[in-house]
Amino acid sequence: MSYDMYNMDFNEGLSGVWKLVGGAFGDNIKQGLGVFVAIAVISVLIGVANAAFSGAEGVTQSRVPIIVGILAIAGVCIGNVNSLFGVLTKTLSEIDVLSKTLLPTLTAAMTAAGTPTSAVVKSSAIMLFSDVLITIINRLLLPCTYTYLALITANAALGNDSLAELSRLLKSGVTGVLKLLLTLFIAYITVSGAISGTSDIMLEKSAKLAMTGAVPVVGSIISEASQTVIAGAGILRNSIGVFGIIAVLGFTIGPTVRIVLNMLALRFAAAVSAPVAPEAIVKYIEKLSEVFSLMLGMTVASVLVLFIGIVSCMGAF
């Protein structure tokens, strides 16, 4: 979907994002339903096979049907997870490019709007945190999520929970790093916004005073007229911010909807399978949905950094 960015207004942008949401739902809802039905069918068959294998008193408790079920579910889901990892990596690189293009423009508009200190402090913080977050996700968190996926599959197949602690550690590590980075970012933006805001007010007042004193007779008129220029630059800054928000939404809405639909499909499948399938299968389906939760967390965190940053640059806080 392409837009004429020079003639685009906020409503048009939002309706474009809404169309993207509709498109993303249409494309992915059948796929999510397919995952749900496939897992439900596997669960029913494995439930019956497991009951037959281990139902009678004195019969050896064989895990073969459970292992086969886990492998079948892994076969259905891992390919899907793998393609979503690719989509997530692409989205992160798009967010990276957008932040590196948008933020310098926003900095220039903020400087023209009379907040040069805030512009430098905020935009450099957003760029730094966005870059750090995306690098950490690509280099550390995504490989950790791959490993988590492999560990939960192996743990479910082994059936003795020997790898459960390790997988739990990886999961809490990934969520912990995301939470820490977001908290640090929000704290930095809030504190630096308060300090640089005061500095900008002082700078503006001293500039006005200097101009009034330096130019005889019309100095005060020029000084007041500069307010109009600053107000115009403020409008420009807000327009760039709104465009940035729409662009971020446009980049991320499709992958987010896809991840959410897959996660919901697995959660529903786990709920539906619970009465018929063995407990190990249900637990494995729930753990698989957690992989999608982690991916959602990474997408939302990287979007939030840019989102909060843009809103902060627009002067909300």
Binding site: Q31, L33, G34, F36, V37, A38, V41, I42, V44, L45, I46, V48, A49, N50, A52, F53, G55, A56, G58, V59, T60, S62, V64, P65, I67, V68, G69, L71, A72, A74, G75, V76, I78, G79, V81, N82, F85, P143, Y146, T147, L149, A150, T153
Partner: protein, 128 residues
């Protein structure tokens, strides 16, 4: 269907109870015959269910090989369970265990392509 199934089961149980005391070998053969008859009766319904599940799985994109593997494992499970129970009825626990072990090995053998494909998938996404 259910009347035929229950009828066969009750007639089989009564006949076996009568014959078993005089001639245990004939009782066992009758037991096997009853099991076969009831399995054949259930087979028609099971086939319908499996066909429905296959259609549903195919229409929602579940790979045919995965479904076939699951059906084979299900079939093995049912046959092994019935055979092992028949062996136990005949007081042949050793044979029952051997049947179970053999069935388990066969199920693993059938699931090997699935195991290989999942391992390949995991290897392809792991960063090392």
């Amino acid at each position: 269907m259910i009347i035929r199934l229950v009828g066969t089961a009750l007639i089989g149980v009564i006949l076996i109870a009568v014959i078993k005391k005089r001639n245990p070998e004939q009782g066992l053969m009758l037991s096997i015959a009853a099991v076969c008859a009831m399995s054949l009766l259930s087979a028609a319904v099971l086939t319908e269910i499996i066909n429905w599940l296959r259609e549903m799985a195919e229409s929602f994109g579940l790979e045919g090989t995965v479904f076939e593997t699951l059906i084979k494992v299900l079939g093995i499970s049912l046959i092994i369970r019935i055979t092992a129970d028949l062996c136990r009825d005949a007081e042949e626990k050793g044979i029952a265990t051997a049947v179970e072990v053999g069935g388990t090995a066969l199920a693993i053998f059938i699931a090997m392509p699935l195991f290989n494909s999942v391992l390949t998938l995991i290897k392809s996404i792991l960063p090392v």
